[in-house]
């Protein structure tokens, strides 16, 4: 008797657990809705940048829905995005992509943030043959396997510093040497290798070429080396927090170069807030800047997007935000051109994308990565300006020495 009652109790618990797990996502499913799935970092290490994508995707979704949705044939569909928190963890993220496809039955996928999480997710997308357009990972590794279902809206790494180096080589007196430091992530490594080649072609000597750990906060040793080598410019391929540390520690150790430039950081509002006046004159590279002006699909043009965005979220959008808008713009155009919600047809339409967005013209290479270029930014008077090629302001070079600033 006793054993029997235990059995029944055990089974009851099991049943409840199952009910909880299975019943969690059987919410009402309205017709005429295209469902997108997105596992983004709401918590954990990547959650700060994750938020940029979330904000942008929501804004773009509302804008599409307000202006009549996406047309498939004669019917128009509203857009709905199902978000999950991947806790900045790749195994969690891949599991959630599974859930989005199998349980939530989403039509299409939007990518997560950072290359390390994008790759496992793209493998799941490929297994189910559902396209994923991502704007949060630029590593060549994502596209190295020629996975036909992944498309990225951040440009390839090798050419990232080209515009910066061209600008640098054009200054008078002509700079002679540069120092290059880079994170040990695939993206940063390719940025640095590409930059080294370009610099040497332009007649700039690379006096320091050193790798740093992705999460490292200590730049003292490298900066001491830079100080004794005294190059004209210091270029870094890394992340925002690394950029803040680099500038702070360069000032602490009184390391004066004529130019500091970095890939990620200067375009973000947090970077300027954290460094205050010390952020002045720092150069940045980006695939996009708010001063550009492109016509768009979802928003009328870049200016309007920036205005609406600032009004809603109270911070300046940067290229992460714009790249997220491009994700949905690509889908809107591809779905309308395909005239269908069939994943295979939409995938083929995405591959043939050739559109104007507020993020700039979007066209994909055969491997799925966007054909793109980069512009040079500089922080002047607490604002980020595009300074090259043809910008709203002229680049300030050389930057004043730390001790000579007011």
């Amino acid at each position: 008797m006793k054993a029997w009652s235990k059995w029944s109790k055990g089974l009851l618990v099991l049943g409840i657990v199952f009910g909880l797990l299975v019943g969690m996502n059987t919410g009402a499913y309205a017709k005429n809705v295209i469902k997108f799935g997105c596992a983004m970092s709401f918590t954990g290490k990547k959650s700060r940048t994750g938020k940029l994508y979330i904000d942008s995707l929501k804004l773009a979704m509302d804008a599409i829905n307000k202006s009549g949705g996406i047309k498939v044939g004669n019917k128009s569909y509203n857009v709905e995005i199902k978000f999950y928190d991947d806790k900045s963890n790749p195994s969690e993220s891949a599991k959630l992509i599974e859930k989005l496809i199998v349980e939530d039955k989403v039509n299409f996928l939007l990518g997560p943030y950072s290359s390390g999480i994008t790759i496992p997710d793209s493998i799941v997308a490929q297994r189910y043959k559902i396209p994923m357009v991502e704007g949060g990972g630029a590593s060549g590794k994502i596209f190295a396997r020629h996975n036909p279902y992944i498309f990225g809206t951040l440009p390839a790494a090798g050419q990232y510093f080209r515009t910066t180096l061209q600008m640098l080589a054009g200054f008078t007196p002509k700079p002679k040497s540069i120092a290059l430091i880079y994170g040990d992530d695939k993206f940063d490594i390719s940025v640095a290798k590409g930059a080294k080649k370009i610099a040497e072609k332009l007649g700039l000597k690379v006096v320091l070429f050193e790798k740093i750990s992705e999460g490292s906060a200590d730049f003292n040793t490298i900066l001491t080396k830079v100080k004794s080598l005294a190059p004209d410019a210091l270029l870094m391929a890394g992340h925002t927090e690394g950029g803040i540390n680099l500038v702070q520690q360069a000032k602490e150790l009184n390391v004066n170069v004529k130019m500091i430039s970095m890939t990620v950081g200067p375009s973000e509002a947090d970077f300027r807030k954290s460094l205050g006046k010390d952020a002045e004159y720092i150069f940045g590279v980006a695939s996009w800047s708010p001063q550009m002006n492109f016509k768009g699909i979802i928003f009328k043009n870049t200016k309007e997007f920036v205005k609406i965005f600032k009004a809603k979220y109270n911070y300046d959008p940067d290229y992460h935000n714009a790249s997220a808008v491009a994700e949905l713009a690509v889908y809107k155009s591809a779905i309308e051109r395909a005239g269908s919600l069939d994943p295979k047809k939409v995938r083929d339409a995405i591959a043939k994308t050739k559109i104007e967005t507020i993020y700039g013209p979007v066209e994909f290479n055969p491997n799925g990565q966007i054909k793109g270029s980069s512009v040079v930014l500089q922080i002047q008077g607490g604002q980020v300006y595009q300074v090259y090629p043809k910008g709203t302001k002229k680049p300030i070079y050389p930057m004043p020495k730390w001790k000579e600033r007011k």
Binding site: D218, L253, S274
Partner: protein, 285 residues
């Protein structure tokens, strides 16, 4: 150049020492490995950040507020939480500390978002030169504060009544109770002091580095290394441990490259444990 690198290492060692002091005290007295230590440093950093951002309180003044506030937090956590399980196996306190860590980290995330922040004071990166060597003021003061706190801990432990009860409790809990020591209160005081020191580290951290709710994890790990290298049971262990680690990392990343920093510090940790299990200053068996 090599001289500058060694000086960098020493100053970084001061920061490490400051970080690890509180952990060492708590570990030495109560045999608790405080996994939540980094989370307390994070709270101390936010404490100074908000005082500075909202009311413009200079971080070197909010340092004392941060220490005081974190002391209260630590006292309360020990009194109402850790004291409840302190006599269970070591896993229990370990995991309780882990629970506290994820609770605090995520509370901070929910309240303040993951935005990167920094206390931006004009003197944050000010420096002076001795010969060709550049020394930043804030890092130097971190070093001095570490020495002062170690000194205060030393005096409290060795010259005061409270200190005697702390030491008695650390040596023999039951005997201490027999002679009338209020063990629960002694533990709470010790934990409060340790967490207060973490608060000081947090304030300095917020001037020098960008902060966010998830910053604590790596700081806890580095504090382990510092405590182990220096050795438990003396307040100057963390200073020696911090300096050793700081200089080793600076020289190591100079010779091998910057990506080897963590490999160097954790290899040192394992080697010290194997060959000098009681640390450099620890008492031999």
């Amino acid at each position: 150049m090599i001289l500058q690198i060694i000086v960098n290492g020493i100053l970084k060692g001061g920061l490490y020492a400051l970080m690890a002091l509180g952990m060492s005290l708590i570990w030495g007295v109560m045999d608790i490995i405080n996994i939540a230590h980094g989370a307390f440093i994070m709270l101390g950093a936010y404490c100074s950040y908000w005082l500075f951002t909202l009311w413009g309180v200079d971080p070197f003044i909010s340092l004392f507020l941060s220490i005081f506030f974190m002391f209260l937090v630590g006292y309360a956590i020990q009194k109402y939480l850790i004291n409840l399980v302190i006599r269970a196996t070591i896993f229990i306190t370990l995991i309780l500390a882990f629970g506290i860590e994820i609770f605090l980290n995520n509370l901070a995330l929910v309240m303040w978002t993951a935005d990167v922040r920094k206390v931006q004071v004009p003197y944050g990166a000010a420096n002076f030169n001795i010969g060709t060597v550049t020394i930043p003021y804030v890092r130097l003061s971190a070093f001095i504060i570490a020495l002062v706190i170690a000194g205060i801990f030393y005096i409290v432990l060795n010259k005061t009544r409270t200190g005697r009860s702390i030491r008695a409790t650390a040596q023999d809990l039951d005997a201490a109770r027999l002679v009338g020591v209020d063990v629960a209160k002694t533990y709470a005081l010790t934990f409060g002091m340790g967490v207060g020191a973490a608060g000081a580290a947090g304030t300095l951290w917020a001037i020098l580095f960008p902060i966010n709710p998830m910053m604590g994890g790596i700081l806890t790990l580095k504090s382990f290394v510092v405590v182990i290298i220096g050795g438990l049971g003396t307040m100057f262990g963390p200073i020696i441990g911090g300096l050793t680690l700081g200089v080793a990392e600076a020289l190591g990343s100079n010779w091998f490259g910057a990506t080897y920093e963590n490999l160097i510090s954790f290899t040192i940790l394992v080697l010290v444990l194997i060959f000098l299990p009681r640390g450099i200053l620890g008492k031999r068996e």
